[in-house]
């Protein structure tokens, strides 16, 4: 059983506004996030003794290159390339380092640049399995397996395109109020249904828009955050599972159910206590599967609970992907796996960027990544709680 976290908090949530196309390197976006979080915390760089970075487009540089570029002298360093799971797995590893005393203050950042040509090249060479056994099938990229998964989900649970669209429309409404969003216009059901076909049943609005940007936060002990007079959110529990067994009977299981019960029990909570869910939404079907497999609603039932405000469960509403998620704010590479954590910390510290929800005390964040061949290999989730009353 994974131990609950103890005395670890997240502070200084930073989103570097996303850009559609840029000639700046990944280090620019990651460094900008670092600068802004140090500024927010009024912290000299010398006080930051740990750095965790996740980036799709950083090579040939790596996290140590960044330490030199940003003149950081570090006791702890880590680079995670677990795609959409890297935010939560990174949070988890950094938390253990702080708990063990290996580092005092760790900057955790996901950031990427975006140039269409580079992106396409990286996508086609995502893994050896991808190159050998996926890319040759008309070079569809990740849309290929996710379209098939969406098709399977819709057929298995008798879910219509309209039902899938409700999630995208809800997230677009969330994006409209979020200060940094690239999308400020409502999405109608007609627009969703009539959108350009990408890979059936996926249309344009089922797919994220790749872009550049960064997301990050500082991790430290609660006493350190108090000394620095920072607003913070506590990390209560976390879990991860990779390459979960799949078979013909459970083609849509990716690993969350493996640690779900422990995740809640370690936090001393249950799914009914969650006020806000930030789930990894590279495609609508993945967001829905996380809401279901992390216990907020029954398998195959999530679309029945989606309203313009969030996930309606009886008398209460769980806010979902309050900044619009990747589907409506863009996917800045591996920053996408940090986006939900950063937004959850903002919501829990009442520092939402024009999109603050009221009465938000607990947040569920989850990540998903690495379609190495036919399914995603990495899942992770964590529960956060508001710090000060």
């Amino acid at each position: 059983m994974s131990r609950p976290h103890h005395d670890v908090v997240l502070a200084a949530p930073i989103s570097v506004p996303y850009q559609r196309e840029t000639d700046k390197p990944a280090s620019y976006f990651i460094g900008t996030a670092l600068r802004e979080m140090l500024k927010t915390a009024n912290l000299p760089a010398a006080e930051c003794d740990g750095l965790l970075v996740s980036s799709f487009s950083l090579a040939p540089d790596n996290v140590t290159s960044l330490a030199e570029m940003f003149n950081l002298n570090l006791n702890w360093i880590e680079q995670s390339n677990l795609g959409g799971a890297a935010g939560v797995t990174g949070l988890r590893r950094a938390a253990r380092a702080v708990e063990a005393g290996d580092a005092e203050i760790i900057a955790c950042i996901g950031g990427d640049t975006y140039q269409a040509e580079l992106y396409t090249e990286l996508l086609g060479k995502f893994s050896n399995f991808t190159m050998d056994a996926v890319t040759p099938y008309a070079c569809g990229g990740a849309n290929l397996p996710f379209a098939m998964l969406t098709n399977l989900y819709m057929e298995t649970y008798d879910v219509s395109r309209e039902a899938m669209g409700r999630l995208c429309i809800m997230q677009r409404e969330n994006a409209k109020t979020y200060r940094n969003s690239l999308f400020k216009k409502s999405l109608t059901m007609q627009e969703y249904l009539n959108a350009r076909k990408i890979a059936e049943p996926l249309g344009l609005f089922d797919c994220v828009m790749p872009c550049a940007g960064a997301e990050g936060f500082l991790l430290m002990r609660e006493s350190t955050a108090r000394e620095l007079k920072l607003d913070y959110a506590r990390l209560l529990s976390s879990g991860e599972r990779h390459n979960a067994p799949q078979n013909d009977d459970s083609p849509m299981s990716f690993g969350w159910t493996h640690y779900r019960d422990e995740l809640y029990s370690a936090a001393g909570l249950n799914p009914r206590d969650i006020d806000i869910a930030q789930v990894y939404d590279d495609y609508p079907v993945m967001a829905l599967l996380q809401l279901e497999q992390l216990g907020l609603c029954a398998q195959g039932e999530s679309t029945k609970h989606i309203t313009p405000e969030g996930l309606r469960l009886g008398e209460r509403t769980v806010h979902v992907n309050t900044s619009g998620g990747q589907l409506s704010s863009g996917q800045a590479g591996f920053a996408g796996g940090f986006m939900g954590i950063v937004e959850a910390v903002r919501q829990l510290t009442t520092s939402g960027l024009d999109n603050q929800r009221i009465d938000v005390k607990t947040a569920l964040v989850s990540g998903f990544g690495m379609i190495n061949y036919d399914h995603g290999l990495c899942t992770a989730a964590a529960i956060l709680q508001a710090g000060e009353e």
Partner: protein, 168 residues
């Protein structure tokens, strides 16, 4: 579709050559415009005798390095599909949409395949073929079983073999 891994490129060339030799010696149908055989390709471990796909340097079951290319089963079941309209290769984009699917072959291994989009439904059996596309890449094709399956697979194989030469 191009890459710089020399080792892998060699193994693919070897496979393509072996495939042609095998097809010729076994009397398999050879068409002047494409190569097609009514079997999938996989690797079988000489140590534990289990088959695997996609291609690996070591056996996923016993980590032995005794992996041999083989032609395997010719049938499977269709598990999921999509009609792909957007490709990041201009070559494929010109000819889109492409019927593609995910198939579990009789040995239980999963393959992405090209598919005749309208002909087969989920969980139905399919006939499986191996072909080479215009870049020499090995691909799998799934079609409705029956007497016409070679012709149906041949239409897809022919389109793939000629793709690089298709006029803009």
């Amino acid at each position: 579709m191009q890459h710089n891994d020399d080792t892998k490129q060699r193994s693919r060339t070897d496979l393509a050559t072996a495939a042609r030799i095998w097809a010729t010696s076994s009397g398999s149908s050879i068409h002047p415009e494409f190569w097609l055989v009514n079997q999938v390709v996989w690797q079988r471990c000489e140590n534990c005798h289990q088959a695997s796909y996609p291609f690996r340097a070591l056996c996923p079951h016993c980590l032995s390095e005794c992996m041999q290319w083989q032609f395997g089963t010719n049938s499977g079941k269709l598990k999921a599909m999509t009609n792909l309209h957007v490709s990041f290769s201009p070559l494929y984009q010109r000819e889109s949409p492409w019927g593609t699917a995910y198939v579990l072959c009789d040995e239980g291994l999963g393959y992405f395949v090209f598919l005749n989009w309208e002909s087969v439904a989920r969980n139905e059996p399919v006939d499986l073929y191996s072909a080479l596309d215009s870049t020499g890449e090995l691909v799998t094709i799934a079609v409705q079983p029956g007497g016409m399956s070679f012709d149906a697979a041949g239409r897809i194989a022919s389109k793939l073999a000629l793709l690089a030469n298709t006029p803009k």
